[in-house]
Amino acid sequence: MKTPQDHTEELRQLIEQVNATSISSIGSVVTRIIAVINDPDATAKELVEIILTDPPLAANVLRLVNSAYCAPKNKIADIQQAVIFIGFEALKELALNQKVCEIFKRGVNINGYSREKLWKHSVAVALFCKMIYRKEFAQRGENAYALGLLHDLGIIIRDQFQNEMLLKALQAAAQNNLPLNDAERETCGYDHAHIGMALAKNWCLPEEIVFGIGYHHDPRESQNGDTTLSQVLHIANYCCQKNNIGYCDAPLQDAAVFTQCCQVLKIEPHAIDLVMGEVEQKIAAMEAEGLL
């Protein structure tokens, strides 16, 4: 069996192919938003500028801010007002959400796999990650939300650029009752985590995110110094799939990795339950407003 490293050239070509499409410009905006999120000195003004230079994004942001989910008293007409109304933090998430969503909504649906479900899964994981950081570690966890949104980026890339391979992998996974990533490795030598990591690296996203994506199936393999984020992502991914929120790429989970992660991070099952409950509530609210 070939290791992912054997497919470096193949991945490079795929990334090149991806960057030749409009996904590349989406990537650059995503990168800029994540940079703002990671910069403690960044002001709302910088974020507003990023949003304003992307008219479709600005329009989307305003649509969301004016939706019943946020329910402003008066109609909000510009991004400045949006900052004041929903807050800087919320706006960061909202903007990132919208931009990443553009990748997920791009292209046509194919049989046997739902992009909407994958997106819902990603949002749920993002929320989960963020909450763990805040509630359990009392940290802002700047990259937690972004990582949650982007961790399955590889699947969507495969969907759009290596559609047949994805179909084959999905088929194999279903037949052999395998997690998708294993099926992918068997059918084409590398999985969507590899693709996502390669693309994140190419976009110059923070290392935490790059490795978080690459090792979200087994954080223990990560060679990155601090694997906290990878581990949180793993927990979130596991919980969301277990609770059937959105798309599920691994019906039979290896509970050992999950339990180990919880122990390392000293997260008790009660905390997991509480966070899960909140995530479910939020996802339900968003779904009710048609935001997913």
Partner: protein, 580 residues
């Protein structure tokens, strides 16, 4: 671990977790809020700056608008045209100053009013097209109509243009109205003047033609007038030819009269400077045989005269004036086929405002001749034409020559006078002739004074004249009047003479070439004898040197040639004058 204890324990741990979560969230939220507040600060100050900037821009735009508005208002108000805006309901929403002046209503009282409110009882024509403009969006130019204003009914010319909003919808009407009163007046005046000019040209040319023809005709007519006379003497009284010959004679006389009038017209333009009294002209005419003949034919008409005893004299031509009086009286008789009265009046009148039918009159004293009849009158439409040659309401040829009134007109014109006719059909006419008055006395010959009135008493008189014959005539005339006369032939000699001995009076010739003239001589004499009496004699007209001499004390100015009475009276008057 007992199950109940475990359950409770689990519950406690769940709550603890929840509290821990909330605490963590609270801590984070706190820092995030701090961060957010800082951001708000940024945003607000940024917004404040933006608001300031926009306010500044708005202020700038507003002041520019104000300037433009003021400019527009000045232009609107300065326009001599009435300018107005109306909305689609026909209500005035704006009007310029001329409009408000025109109506004598303040602008704010115009706003909101309709046309009918502002111009009651005016022509519908001037606003009825509003609706059409609003409907079609097309302008309408040059609508003519009348409106009622506080100053009366006025003719207006109106242009209307639809006022469109930025979407091209008609939101009202912008109108420009011109008061045509002055224009129409000057148009009428122009027509009037043209008519007048045409009339005077017609009379002028007929006058010229008549003058040319009259001389020749006069000679020809002599035959018609004098041969019938001869024939009548030759044929028997019962000859059947008598009546036809009499008719020929009558016709000849009538033709001669026409020629006479033509000649009178033809003589127009000759200046006549006789000083005349209209009263004397009238009485002279009334006493004339011509008039007596007319009176005897028309005994049913009385002639009354009211002549002003203080009537001022006029300057003019007695021939023309007599003819004028005759023609007017004759017309007055003919206008009264039934009973009637003719009033002839004269009076003085100071004219200082325009007379009917004249734009300008010379201000001053006028002697007025008025002839009033109680006849048939002249219809208004004929009044303008009665002075045209051969224009008559009477049957041509039965009476008059057809030139009578033309003669009247021409005479008045030539005397720088004016004529004013008032007439009412069925009631009669008044002809009023204004002649400029003169202060000069009548140019009649006065009866000579008896020579005793100016005989000398042996006074010494020095005659200064450079012409020998003149000295001799003066010596002879004054000697006969019992004066002691000495003569010298130059001014210098005269001065020397006066130095040597006094003289009661010096008669000075004004112009003596070469040598000093009369004035200079007199000056030098006065230096020697300040009260020297003198009179000036000269062949030339009075000039400033003569007047200067008179100012210095010289008496009467006597115009040469020397005449006994003239020089005698002048000398006597000067000598009898009390000493200064």
């Amino acid at each position: 671990m007992a199950p109940s204890q475990t359950k409770q324990d689990v519950k406690i741990r769940q709550l603890e977790t929840q509290i821990r979560h909330l605490q963590n969230e609270l801590v984070l939220t706190q820092t995030e809020y701090q961060n957010l507040i800082n951001n708000y600060f940024d945003i607000f100050s940024n917004m404040e700056k933006m608001v300031e900037e926009r306010t500044r821009e708005l202020n700038k735009v507003q002041s520019q608008l104000e300037v433009k508005t003021r400019e527009l208002e000045i232009m609107l108000d300065a326009s001599p045209t009435l300018i107005f805006y109306k909305d689609t309901q026909g209500r005035y929403i704006r009007a310029n100053r001329r409009f408000s002046d025109f109506l004598n209503i303040p602008i704010f009282d115009i706003i909101g009013k309709s046309h009918r409110d502002l111009f009651p009882d005016s022509d519908d024509q001037v606003f009825i097209d509003d609706e059409e403009i609003i409907r079609t969006g097309q302008p309408i130019f040059g609508t003519y109509g009348h409106v009622n204003t506080p100053e009366g009914r006025k003719p207006m010319m109106i242009d209307k243009i639809p006022n469109n909003d930025s979407n091209g919808n008609v939101i009202g009407i912008i109108g420009f109205a011109m008061d045509m009163t002055e224009q129409e007046k000057s148009e009428r005046e122009k027509l009037d003047l043209q008519e007048k000019l045409a009339r005077s040209q017609k009379m002028e040319s007929i006058g010229l033609l008549a003058g040319g023809v009259a001389h020749d005709l006069n000679n020809v007519l002599t035959g018609f007038v004098s041969y019938p006379e001869y024939l009548l003497m030759e044929i028997p009284d019962d000859s059947p030819l008598r009546d036809p010959i009499l008719t020929i004679q009558e016709s000849g006389k009538k033709a001669a009269a026409i020629v006479q009038d033509l000649l009178t017209l033809a003589r127009r333009g000759v200046t006549h400077t006789e000083v005349l009294s209209l009263n004397e002209m009238v009485t002279g005419y009334i006493a004339s045989p011509e008039h007596q003949r007319i009176v005897s034919d028309c005994s049913h008409v009385r002639v009354e005269m009211r002549l002003d005893g203080d009537l001022l004299n006029i300057k003019g031509s007695s021939v023309h004036l007599r003819k004028t009086i005759m023609n007017l009286v004759l017309n007055a008789f003919e206008a009264q086929p039934e009973e009637g009265r003719i009033l002839i009046r004269t009076f003085n009148r100071y004219v200082d405002k325009a007379l009917k039918g004249y734009d300008h009159v010379m201000e001053g004293d006028y002697a007025v001749l008025e002839i009033v009849d109680q006849g048939v009158g002249i219809p208004a439409e004929d009044l303008n034409r009665i002075f045209e040659p051969f224009y008559t309401r009477k049957v041509m040829g039965r009476s008059g020559t057809g030139l009578g009134m033309a003669v009247v007109w021409g005479t008045v014109q030539d005397h720088d006078g004016y004529i004013d006719v008032e007439s009412t059909v069925g009631q009669g006419s008044v002809f009023r002739l204004y002649f400029p008055a003169t202060r000069e006395t009548l140019s009649r010959v006065e009866a000579p004074l008896p020579i005793q009135a100016y005989m000398g008493k042996g006074e010494r008189i020095l005659v200064v004249d450079d012409v020998k014959e003149q000295r001799e005539i003066a010596t002879s005339l004054l000697g006969r009047l019992n004066y002691l006369v000495e003569t010298v032939e130059s001014g210098m000699e005269a001065v020397e003479y006066i130095k040597r001995q006094p003289s009661d009076l010096v008669i000075l010739d004004m112009i003596m070439d070469p040598g000093i003239d009369g004035l200079e001589t007199y000056r030098r004499m006065l230096a020697i004898r300040p009260n020297q009496r003198a009179i000036i004699a000269s062949g030339y007209s009075e000039n400033h040197r003569v007047r200067e001499a008179q100012r210095l004390g010289a008496g009467t100015y006597v115009r040469k040639p020397y005449m006994l009475e003239k020089i005698g009276i002048a000398v006597r008057r000067e000598l009898d004058r009390p000493a200064a």
